[in-house]
Amino acid sequence: MTIGNHIPEDDLVLFALQLLPEDRMRQATIHVETCETCRSEIAKLQGDLVAYSMTADIVAPPPEARERVLRQVAKEPKPVLPPDPEPVPVAVVDPPERTDRLRRSTDRPERVDRTSAEPVFATRQRRGFQVEAAEEDEREKPRRPSRVPWVLAWTGWAVAAGCSFVAGLQFHQRQQIQSTIAAQQAKLDDVTKQSAHAQDILATLTAANAMQVTLHSTADVKPGTQTATAMAAYLADKGALVFIATHLDPAPIGKTYELWLMPADGRNPMPAGMFKPDAQGRARVMMPQLPTGIDAKGFGVTMENEGGADVPTLPVLLAGT
């Protein structure tokens, strides 16, 4: 099962996939718990599996599924944990007998200002548990009522329970409303962003002063084949660019197409976005971040290593002025 105390590489993959037979899975689990090397390799493999998961066609779940999940979540309220206590400015003066003890054991100041304050309850808690708990108990004892009519005690509990129930109900309803508002707000933000983006694209495509350029393939045209072509619409004053290409060949592994803007003043070509065509050979670059006010004399497309280049690598595959 293991080689030199480690799980064989091929089995590590099956472990990550949870496809090892049960007995070997159990053995491997025990080993992995104590073996940093194998655990690290499995973590990498899980990272690979995450990337592979992304190859599934992305489908949005039906809206009812969301309601179902959130309804179920609402049905399973959690015990509400106390929020992290806010530091509160509080002057704590220890009783004389206790202060003397504390002074001997710690350097804690008598007064706690806001910057160094611990939460009130934490301070009390610490004192309660760490400093003379027995003394505390002794002091508390006389304060306890010796006899309390049980009816009164139970009434108090009942009132408290009733209040808690109402407060819980209100809290729950408020959470539900907030949840709905947050989800709607998130959707609205998305739609607003998409709408603004679409408007920018439309404005670039239809602007009277937009530079419209058709890019043609520089390769020899083979008879009976469709050559790659592209269209760029560019607004120099806004630095807005829309680029659409068709009939592109797939980019080889590790390579990417890169679009270049050729400034009119003769400066070096500027990178204007990387792209890879889809299965139909179509690709687009929408509103890349370009500086404003750069007049262009044309555009070109090259093939670059993944990640892009600072200067174009010849040959230029598509060009247009």
Binding site: K44, V50, A51, A60, R68, V73, E76, S179, V285
Partner: protein, 187 residues
Amino acid sequence: MNSRVEGPVIHGGTTQDGQLLDRVRRGDEQAMAVLYERYSKIVYSVALRVLRDSASAEDVLQDVFLGVWRRPESFISARGSLGGWLAVVARNRSIDMLRRKRPSLQVEEVYLASPFDLADEAERNILMQRARAVIMHLPLEQRKTLEMAYFDGLTHSEIAEITGDPLGTVKTRIRNALLSLRKELET
């Protein structure tokens, strides 16, 4: 240089997953709704790909998110990206359902090292495009073997039986396919 769809755009500014999980731990349903909006597509898509049935995929979706609600501490930041963790958990739960197995004990014990921030939609889209491109260019037998293991949940013995390949070859193909994916995505 950056383009909205194809270029390497990295958006930030969203509430961190860790903060949301902390709020979930405190019973904040609103935080749960945000996590759902962020990751339900990934979880549902992976489940649908494995199960090929929308009703079952919805069951897994609910199961996974209720798991987060009930045990947000199952995921700790040391385990890497929450989105990635959810994707892997969704796949594992789906395979369990497919094989009519009891949920794997270690289904949530997934530690992953992934450089990708799946909370960011743009980065998610880029990863999706790049991963698909790499997989499309893998040798056919590697691609099919990995698909059978990951999305169909077939063991190496079952794959070997179906394809007629030796067991060792099947294991090596799965591993090589994943390593190719890692190598290409690292460049």
